[in-house]
């Protein structure tokens, strides 16, 4: 029989500490939608999404009511469009993004991911078309998310694609300038992209997946912070143990929701993403967990070590609680979406360079960082290359989602609204890498790719 304290603890986590299931993401294969004309392709994609995902939001809301735990997002990921649209004859994939946008609105989800390309070795013609379509597609649609994979541990880094993505980020910012470059918040450049990620903007339904998959992302930075308040001053072994125990509990809820969602949707359960995903709300910050460990401010000396401990303990605790673990699985450090990160950036304690170091030991990469609108395409490409190098050498996923806000400089701030949050414009090192980026070509796969 359940004990009173267990029931109260769960409801305190949900009520006071903002425990939630961050997302149920339904992965849908669009491999069967390939058509030899643009209009036929767009119609097939619209029909597939609207029929397959018609119950997703209702099922999510029912599960939320049954268990009394918030399920913040219901979302869709699809097969990378550069593959699906390849034989359509379209010279621009903007109509495909618009079809995705219409379909996703029709079923009521708040984001759809997969307007994506994989180009870690070379750019195929379809990848070029997709990348060229990106600025307009992201400006013309509201809830379509995009990702481009430009490197991997196995393939090295495609520096031609990196250069192209530097320009694409800039152009996307310009086309959505009147909304503080919001288009860039929907665009992620990956190294070692994963095929079962439920989180946006980087979710897509990988080519090795089946027809459908229910992937669930858990969350709960506030729960971890609260648990650590009980072990103040104790050795870090105790901190790690506490994080593990808490992550286990959080993940069990994710597993329950994933199993139930898969059953009700009649789709196979995919993975649980063991992530600590912050929101701008007070009490939902990863930075505040690091500060609870004893740092004056996130971004100061000690931050990388504290984050390494947190990230590893979250995985260890969550691993045993989930049937299948996948996605990005780790602590997220999006600057504009985390109240503690925003404070740290505004106070000067957190720099772009420190964030880069932090990405060596946690999930993903440079995320939701607003930079001066005057930052050049080459500098953005060089930032992408640095981040990809970390991913390639360490065999982990890294990503860049930076937002060069037109007309804004260091000292200004920007507000994206909702869960995308707000943040100060961060300083970018002014020295140039133009000649490095102009070389193009490929950075060869590292020695550690030769594992066979």
């Amino acid at each position: 029989m359940l004990e009173l304290r267990e029931i109260l603890e769960t409801n305190r986590m949900i009520g006071e500490n903002r425990l939630d299931v961050r997302t149920i993401t339904l992965g849908i294969s669009l491999r069967g939608c390939a058509r030899e004309s643009g209009p036929a392709l767009c119609r097939a994609i619209y029909d597939k999404i609207t029929t397959t995902a018609r119950n997703l939001v209702r099922v999510g809301e029912e599960i939320e009511a049954t268990f009394g735990v918030p399920i913040v997002h219901k979302r869709i990921s699809v097969t990378p469009i550069s593959m699906v649209a390849e034989s359509s004859g379209l010279a621009s994939y903007v109509p495909v993004a618009e079809a995705m946008d219409r379909a996703a609105r029709e079923v009521g989800v708040n984001f759809i991911g997969g307007f994506s390309a994989r180009a870690e070795k070379r750019l195929a013609e379809s990848d070029r078309i997709l990348i060229a379509s990106l600025p307009e597609a992201l400006a013309a649609t509201e809830i379509v998310c995009s990702s481009v994979n430009i490197g991997s541990t196995k393939a090295g880094i495609n520096m031609d694609a990196v250069r192209e993505m530097g320009r694409t980020v800039k152009k996307t910012a310009e086309l959505t300038a009147e909304r503080d470059a919001i288009g860039c918040a929907k665009l992620v450049v990956f190294c070692n992209a994963v095929e079962d990620n439920p989180f946006m903007a980087g979710a897509f339904h990988g080519i090795g997946e089946g027809d459908l998959a229910v992937n669930v992302g858990v969350s709960g930075p506030g729960v971890v912070k609260h648990a650590l308040e009980a072990v103040r001053g104790q050795p870090l072994d105790e901190v790690a143990e506490t994080v593990k125990r808490t992550a286990f509990k959080i993940t069990r809820v994710g597993q329950l929701v994933a199993r139930e969602a898969a059953r009700r949707l009649g789709a196979p359960m995919g993975i649980i993403d063991l992530s600590l995903a912050p929101t701008p709300a007070i009490g939902d910050s990863v930075a505040h967990i690091l500060e609870e460990m004893g740092l004056e401010k996130c971004g100061g000396p000690g931050t990388t070590a504290a984050l390494a401990l947190l990230n590893d303990a979250v995985k260890k605790g969550g691993l045993m609680a989930a049937q299948h673990v996948g996605g990005l699985s780790g602590a997220f450090i999006p600057v504009s979406e985390d109240a503690g990160m925003i404070d740290a950036a505004a106070s000067g304690a957190l720099s772009l360079e420190k964030l880069e170091a932090m990405t060596c030991v946690c999930s993903v990469g440079l995320d939701m960082i607003a930079i001066p609108g005057s930052t050049s395409a080459e500098t953005i490409a060089a930032i992408i290359a640095d981040e990809a190098a970390i991913g390639m050498i360490n065999a982990k996923t890294t990503a860049v989602r930076v937002i060069p806000v037109p007309g804004k400089e260091v000292g200004d701030s920007v507000a994206f609204g909702g869960l995308l949050g707000h943040c100060p414009i961060m300083r970018v090192n002014p020295t140039r890498a133009d000649a490095f980026i102009a070389r193009g070509g490929r950075i060869p796969a590292p020695v550690r790719s030769l594992t066979n």
Binding site: L2, L4, T10, N11, A65, F67, G68, V69, Q255
Partner: protein
């Protein structure tokens, strides 16, 4: 299926009676009740069996929502699996 009903709020006459009557009307069988008063605040956790119940979980939740609004109480009605998942391996 078992449900967990959690009621928190200012203490007053008739909270337990109303909750018990509401469940009895819907043939929901009470298995366990834990109740106390802390600093004038009423706390109750009740576990009940829905096997013979009519109207389903939504119906019970709706009835408790009305009771909570009328009596100024915070009431949650949840499937027990969320607690079992978190606390029982």
């Amino acid at each position: 299926m078992k449900i967990v009903v959690t009621i928190i709020g200012q203490d007053r006459v008739g909270i337990v009676a109303r909750a018990a009557a509401l469940l009895a009307e819907r043939r929901v069988n009470i298995l366990d009740i834990n109740q106390n008063i802390v600093h004038g605040f009423f706390n109750m956790v009740l576990i009940a069996e829905m096997a013979e119940a009519g109207g389903g979980l939504r119906g019970v939740q709706e009835a408790f929502r009305e009771m909570g609004t009328e009596m100024g109480l915070d009431i949650k009605v949840q499937h027990e699996d969320i607690f079992l998942a978190m606390h029982k391996v």
